[in-house]
């Protein structure tokens, strides 16, 4: 049953969920570019963000201040990332400096297990849902949950903020320099170890933000980050590892393809359309839409 209205509605909802996926992918790609490792615990930082959101709304702030809780969740995951990186990741990187050790990646897998177990130990295997005071909103002709609309708005705002920090501030300049040549950045006086921690913190804060934003819709429980992490990595394959535009465009593309498939083909297979897209990209451009063929080290 085709109608232009349905098509437009589907595209809108696809883009809206896509920007949230993009947050995850951006976090993964950003940490990879700077710290030179894949952070497999991204989903657990998503989970942390959602738990902080729940605790803040349910016990401290109340549902009217859900937006303040979002900021606290994001800042909280940033802080946790900033403290964990020097503690767990940095010691895994041994000299010479340009060789980023694979142990660091393995440590993030350990971190994943630890954080999940911690969530079970503290919150139990239950599902929670942080409330909001948002009413149903109309996006064009389409009625949508307010939390979903605001999640997309916050995500867009975060992406814009990320862009400004990276392209307009000296911190962003130092991070871009580090992504291109770590040793040259260091001999230029950039304190690369501090920036590793900053980059890691920014990356996981993006995941924490996604977790907090999606908590009212996808709920809060110990393994809630798993699905979004998979989406994040799908986007990395689509957009290309280490590419920021790839993460953004890949995220939106994935959201749109999934929504279109669910609306026009069959909705139970929603996740499968994303995988089909991944397979297609792997066949045509194995290094992703914006990836470069030969990566250094």
């Amino acid at each position: 049953m085709y109608s232009t209205e349905l098509l437009i509605q589907t595209l809108i909802s696809g883009v809206m969920i896509g920007v949230l996926y993009a947050l995850m992918a951006l976090g993964i790609t950003f940490i990879y570019s700077i710290v030179r490792m894949i952070n497999w615990a991204m989903g657990e930082f998503y989970m942390l963000g959602s738990y902080i959101q729940y605790v803040a709304v349910a016990y401290v702030l109340g549902r009217n201040y859900w937006w303040l809780a979002i900021l606290i969740s994001t800042a909280g995951t940033f802080l946790i990332g900033y403290l964990l990186e020097p503690l767990l990741i940095k010691p895994m990187h041994v000299r010479p400096m340009e060789r980023r050790d694979d142990y660091a990646t393995v440590v993030t897998i350990a971190l994943l297990l630890m954080l999940r177990s911690l969530a079970v130990a503290i919150g139990g295997p239950y599902q929670y849902r942080p409330e909001t005071n948002l009413p149903i909103m109309w996006v064009g002709p389409l009625p949508m949950e307010g939390a979903r609309v605001m999640a997309s708005v916050f995500a867009l705002f975060a992406l814009a903020l990320f862009y400004v920090v990276i392209s307009k501030t000296w911190i962003g300049l130092a991070l871009r320099a580090m992504a291109q040549n770590r040793v040259a950045a260091q001999t230029s006086g950039v304190d690369v170890f501090r920036f590793d921690a900053i980059a890691f913190a920014i990356g996981v804060a993006l995941a924490g933000l996604a977790g907090a934003l999606l908590a009212p819709l996808f709920l809060v429980y110990p393994t809630n980050g798993a699905v979004t992490t998979v989406k994040g990595f799908e986007i990395i394959v689509i957009g290309g590892l280490g590419s920021i535009p790839g993460a953004l465009i890949g995220g939106v593309l994935l959201g749109v393809v999934e929504s279109l498939g669910a609306a026009f083909i069959s909705s139970p297979y929603q996740n499968a359309y994303g995988f089909a897209l991944v397979l297609l990209i792997l066949l045509v451009r194995p290094y992703g839409l914006f990836g470069e063929r030969g990566r250094e080290a």
Partner: protein
């Protein structure tokens, strides 16, 4: 003491090979010292040890009297010593101008923007890179990259010693002259240089004194003309088979 950079007993071992074997060198403030030696003599290892890229197995590096041995490169840069690499390391996806901003802001961190802009303008003009200021650095030629790398070193506020590893290798004569002019100008402004090079003509032109390294050790030190007459140096360069 007017020695700005001193090393004592600097040692680095790679398995059984003594890459640096008790290297001692002392640079006087404001001099341009040449560091020469046959391939494999340990010159680049020495530069790596002094600038914190590698950690020495033994010995000491003093910059203005304070020990910088084993510190990371960014800490050493903050102490006032920077280096350039044999293969110019520039940030390819940043513009030429941004390449010059990175070292300035990494060290200054303040909003000394007017000062930075003036300095960048001056260096762009002197290095003849001005027309390329807003191009990405990856579009530069090898020689232009060398110029840019040197200028990036000159951007760090408060740097007293510049260590340049083979800055003249494989660049065309015009760019070479520009680079020499830049070095001489910074030197007149008070900077000290240690230049590793195989280009004897350039060394003769700008370095009143040279240090010769052979097989991981300092073999000789003095004016190039004097050094060139020493038999052990000549032998190391030309090989015994010629005699």
């Amino acid at each position: 003491m007017s020695n700005v950079l001193t090393t004592a007993g600097l040692t680095k071992r790679y398995g059984g090979l003594m890459a640096n074997d008790g290297v001692a060198i002392a640079l006087t403030a404001g001099e341009i010292r040449g560091l020469i030696g046959p391939n494999g003599a340990g010159k680049t290892t020495f530069v790596n040890l002094v600038t914190g890229i590698e950690r020495p197995d033994g010995g000491q590096v003093l910059l203005n009297g304070s020990a910088i041995t084993g510190l990371g490169p960014h800490r050493i840069a903050a102490h006032g010593l920077v280096r350039s690499f044999q293969v110019a390391r520039v940030f390819g996806n940043l513009t030429v101008r941004e390449n010059l901003m990175v070292p300035y802001f990494a060290s200054a961190r303040t909003s000394g923007t007017a000062e930075a802009v003036a300095r960048i303008g001056e260096l762009l003009r002197l290095s003849t890179l001005e027309p390329l200021a807003d191009d990405l650095a990856k579009s530069l030629s090898g020689g232009q990259r060398m110029l840019l790398q040197a200028c990036a070193g000159f951007m760090i506020p408060g740097v007293k010693v510049h260590v340049l590893d083979e800055p003249f290798a494989g660049i065309n004569p015009v760019v070479k002259d520009t680079l020499i002019e830049l070095i001489l100008k910074e030197n007149r402004a008070g900077a000290t240089f240690l230049i590793v090079s195989h280009e004897m003509a350039v060394i003769r032109r700008i370095c009143p004194r040279v240090t010769v390294m052979i097989a991981g050790k300092v073999a000789a030190e003095g004016p190039l003309e004097e050094i060139a007459r020493r038999e052990d140096v000549v032998t190391a360069y030309l090989g015994r088979s010629l005699q």
